[in-house]
């Protein structure tokens, strides 16, 4: 490991974008204890994660079943099984759907709420507090209380209220076309709060100058948003969307409680499938293979996502 200080003499504003530096910039402090900063975290992460990562990878080449003693090497059998596994393929499609749709909706609503909250004077703190609450409830509890109780088609208040105003009951979780949307609704209910808080913070930290300049030029409303606010908000948006989508790729608690992946496989998520394979059927070998397939997918997604957004972020900073 070679370490070179990134200490710079010029002010921050004039600096080039992160990662563009070459070594040698601060040779005067080459003895700087860079390892002191990074190593503790790196050691802990390595200690805690290397074993799970390696063990899971190893499992993908075996037939390890929790029930039976003895493990046999099976080469790439588990990996080959992925290709003929309709449940796996459906679960990938569902997971992509949940991730894309829920992240998008949460982002849009969260952004809108953050913008609106900053426009009002009275009651700002009240709304900010209220909007934070959903994320403070355990997803497992949200699955039961929001997902199961509220959306119960015959004994829940939502369909009952619809019935009272003459709308026929919505098959929230019993219809395979509707059920994925119901999962999305529950997730949006809970995690819009996360987007809201990050985006609100982002909006508050924006510099004032560009806005004043634009106002002098007569820009307002939508134009102001599209030309000034949004571009400046790209960096915080990129992080917020990344964190949220990484979590959504691993969605399990809500689905497990609300639909168990059904009807059929209409709401099966990859992580739920992994759980089912590994811990209901004991099929660790194949469960780990499905998990690794998702890992590969998510890493690819994250790399592409960060590469695509890199330029927009650089432009904004």
């Amino acid at each position: 490991m070679r370490v070179v200080p990134r200490h710079r003499s010029q002010p921050l504003g004039a600096a080039s974008s992160r990662g563009a530096e070459r070594s040698g910039a601060g040779a005067a402090v080459a003895h700087a204890p860079a390892g002191f900063f990074l190593n503790p975290a790196a050691i802990i992460v390595v200690l805690l994660s290397i074993f799970p990562f390696v063990l899971s990878l190893g499992m993908t080449f075996t037939n390890w079943n929790l029930l039976y003693p003895g493990v046999a090497f099976r080469g790439l059998d588990n990996w080959a099984r992925l290709f003929g596994d309709a449940t796996f393929q459906r679960s990938v499609a569902n997971t992509v759907f949940f991730t894309v749709v829920a992240t998008a909706i949460e982002y849009v609503i969260g952004f809108a709420l953050a913008l609106l909250v900053l426009q009002i004077e009275r009651g700002q703190r009240f709304f900010r507090l209220i909007f934070l609450i959903p994320m403070m409830i355990s997803p497992a509890a949200v699955g039961y209380v929001v997902g199961r109780m509220l959306f119960s088609e015959t004994q829940g208040p939502i369909n009952d209220l619809l019935y009272r105003v003459g709308i026929s009951p919505v098959p929230w979780t019993s219809n395979p076309a509707m059920a994925p949307w119901t999962i999305v609704i529950a997730d949006v209910w809970q995690w819009t709060s996360f987007m809201f808080v990050l985006l609100l913070a982002g909006l508050q930290s924006l510099p004032h100058e560009p806005f004043e300049a634009a106002r002098i030029d007569g820009a307002s409303g939508w134009k102001l948003f599209a030309q000034i606010t949004f571009p400046l908000m790209v960096p915080v948006s990129v992080t917020a969307v990344l964190i949220r989508s990484l979590e959504l790729f691993k969605l399990i608690d809500l689905v497990r409680v609300m639909t168990g992946g059904g009807p059929g496989t209409a709401t099966e998520s990859v992580t739920l499938y992994v759980y089912d394979l590994a811990l209901n059927r004991g099929d660790m070998g194949y469960g780990a293979t499905v998990a690794y397939a998702l890992l590969i997918l998510v890493v690819l997604y994250a790399l592409i996502y960060l590469a695509l957004t890199r330029r927009a972020v650089a432009n904004a900073t």
Binding site: L48, L132, M136, I137, M149, A201, T239, A291
Partner: protein
């Protein structure tokens, strides 16, 4: 008139979302005052109007029919220590990544940061068995210490990712003058950079606290009885012989209370903390 209308327009969507957020909480609250028969009978909305509220669920909690205090303490210890430790180590690493150019073989800083965040990408259901095996040999199964360590591991990548952005956004002039005056890097970090980043540290810690406080999957498998946490206790109300909605709602309220209190106390801090540049 039109101007006034325009000024008050934002309240409409805000109020709508507030209702969306509050209705489930209202439902949870009234459910905790319903008796089983009130729930089986069908939908009822207003206490004293269409059902008679009962304190049964709350009495059951008070009398220890469902143990609450133990899980609350377990959850609190695991969530608070793990988030504090993760933020402390994450601040160090994030500072390092924003101030030095590291080389791990072909990897540069961006790659190292990506490696950290990629630790959050393996589905937990696969990692959990490895944790069980590890913890078995370390005698950490069914212990709060074990959960704390596991949560620290989850939280650390997020902490590093967020803290790196934080420090990158902080002005460096102060640090430079500190270095010029002969202070070491750790001293500079401790005395100059860290105080500036404290609000952000607190904000990050709160987010991580919430994540750990609500974690279910690991808690459900790595803890048996002694180290049981609140989310598992709540899910335990979905029994093989029926879901005890009334108790589940009461427990969910109990488990929300500390996080909401924390939020109330520190809400300004969260937003201001993140504002200093956490999420750049």
């Amino acid at each position: 008139m039109a101007k006034r209308l325009k000024r008050n327009l934002p309240y409409i969507p805000l109020a709508i979302w507030a209702v969306v957020v509050l209705f489930p909480l209202y439902w949870m609250t009234i459910t905790s005052f319903k008796r089983p028969i009130d729930i089986n009978r069908g939908v009822s909305y207003l206490p004293w109007v269409d059902f008679t509220p009962s304190l049964q669920a709350w009495r059951d909690l008070r009398d220890g029919a469902v143990p609450v205090v133990g899980p609350l303490i377990n959850s609190f210890v695991a969530a608070s220590i793990s988030s504090v430790v993760a933020v402390a180590l994450g601040a160090l690493a994030g500072y390092g990544l924003s101030r030095f150019a590291y080389r791990w073989g072909p990897w540069r800083n961006d790659d190292i940061a990506f490696w950290f965040i990629s630790q959050r990408m393996l589905p937990p259901a696969a990692a959990i068995l490895a944790f069980m095996v590890m913890f078995k040999y370390l005698h950490l199964l069914d212990s709060v210490a074990g959960l704390t360590i596991a949560y620290t591991g989850f939280n650390l990548p997020f902490a590093i990712w967020i803290m790196r952005d934080f420090f990158a956004a902080l002005p460096r002039e102060l640090e430079e003058s500190s270095l010029v005056e002969g202070a070491s890097w750790p001293q500079t970090f401790w005395q100059v950079a860290l105080p500036l980043a404290l609000p952000g540290l607190a904000a990050t810690a709160i987010l991580l606290f919430i994540f750990s406080w609500n974690e279910y999957l690991f808690a459900s498998l790595l803890a048996f009885e002694k180290a049981k946490t609140m989310p598992v206790t709540i899910a335990g109300m979905a029994t093989s012989i029926g879901i005890r909605w009334w108790l589940m709602s009461a427990l969910a309220i109990v488990s929300m209370a500390p996080t909401i209190a924390l939020g109330l106390l520190l809400e300004r801090y969260i937003v201001r903390g993140l504002t200093t540049g956490a999420v750049k």
